[in-house]
Symmetry: C2
Subunit: 176 residues, 2 copies
DNA sequence: GAGATATGTCAATAAGGCTGACTTAAAAGC
DNA sequence: GCTTTTAAGTCAGCCTTATTGACATATCTC
């Protein structure tokens, strides 16, 4: 690629201060691939969800509730980073249509512990399977060892102060 | 790990047909990491954009126009996968505020060729630099060889019929 | 009992998508 | 040259998902 570069070309030495990242050429490839990949990654679930008159917001709620039975409202808000009012609309719909169940806490009766119903788990799984299919297909074409690197990369894109939280969420199962 | 899995979940034996990916356990880790990574990846640009009263839609338009000077409306619609009407609203604002310029085609006078102004290129670059910073930070913590694997993975997530198109867009420069 | 906390709800607003219908200008086809 | 197709622009109305702000209720903590 750099075959035509004359040897003597003064190349400003790359500093890896990690703070002045904008000294580097923009990583257009990874920026754009991320955009296109995300666009298609959510497209399969979108199709299924529209059959139920649900949107992406419903998917996110159902996903995390299904994954973490007993999740409280506050915890869910913290994961999704949306307001109580935004959550409430979609959550209400998911409860009314029987995909999620809200149970009053026993230790703290102010809390609501959310659980997916059988129907809810089923839909969540169906959507996860679709996305897993896409992931599996993609992983199949590359070095199987790369999976850890990909996880590490994605984790590294997350805000540092949230990284531990996400790590617990994704890799550890809940104890609360 | 599966201790909390809903009871009714049948576990079919894993076949490696690559077609029926949903025989596999869901790739919850990559699914969730992708969600959290994307959430934070767009957060830095969002902050800057709001200073200009722009949103993500403006960012996407500005980005691709800046990257591919002379892009036509039809080509842009194909990249973004939104309707003409949706594009028009944000594009109009970007033109009115002097970030993008629309030039009537010479060969085909029906077409509009879009170009970022100096101001437009500047903002696009600023936003790309922010995202590049995040990417660089993340890449710094992993095997430098992994970058190719990550690109390949993201490319693999894209719809097969679009993959060549995206590849041209991302890795090749335009000749039109 | 006072105050803090977890949740729920009303109302108004905004961004960014969508569909459908229609116009204008210009190119292409015959 | 006339017709059809294509590229772009526009009007109107609607939906989803988010926001802010204000306030209500039940329950826990001190």
């Amino acid at each position: 690629m750099d075959a035509t570069l004359p040897d003597a070309m003064p190349v400003p030495h790359p500093r890896r201060d990690s703070a002045d990242a904008h000294a580097d050429a923009p990583a257009y490839d990874l920026i754009e691939l991320f955009f296109f990949a995300y666009r298609d990654f959510v497209s399969d679930p979108d199709r299924i969800l529209s059959e139920y008159n649900f949107g992406r917001a419903h998917h996110r709620v159902l996903h995390f509730v299904s994954r973490q039975p007993g999740l409280t409202i506050a915890e869910l808000l913290d994961i999704l980073r949306i307001t109580k009012q935004s959550l409430n609309r979609v959550l209400k719909e998911l409860i009314e249509t029987g995909f999620i169940e809200s149970r009053t806490g026993t230790a703290d009766r102010r809390q609501r512990h959310l659980h997916a119903t059988t129907q809810g788990h089923h839909l969540a799984r169906k959507l996860a399977d679709l996305q897993t299919g896409r992931i599996t297909q993609s992983l199949a074409s590359i070095d199987p060892k790369a999976k850890e690197a990909i996880s590490a990369y994605l984790l590294g894109l997350i805000d540092p102060d949230d990284r531990a939280h996400v790590q617990r969420l994704v890799f550890g199962r809940r104890e609360t």
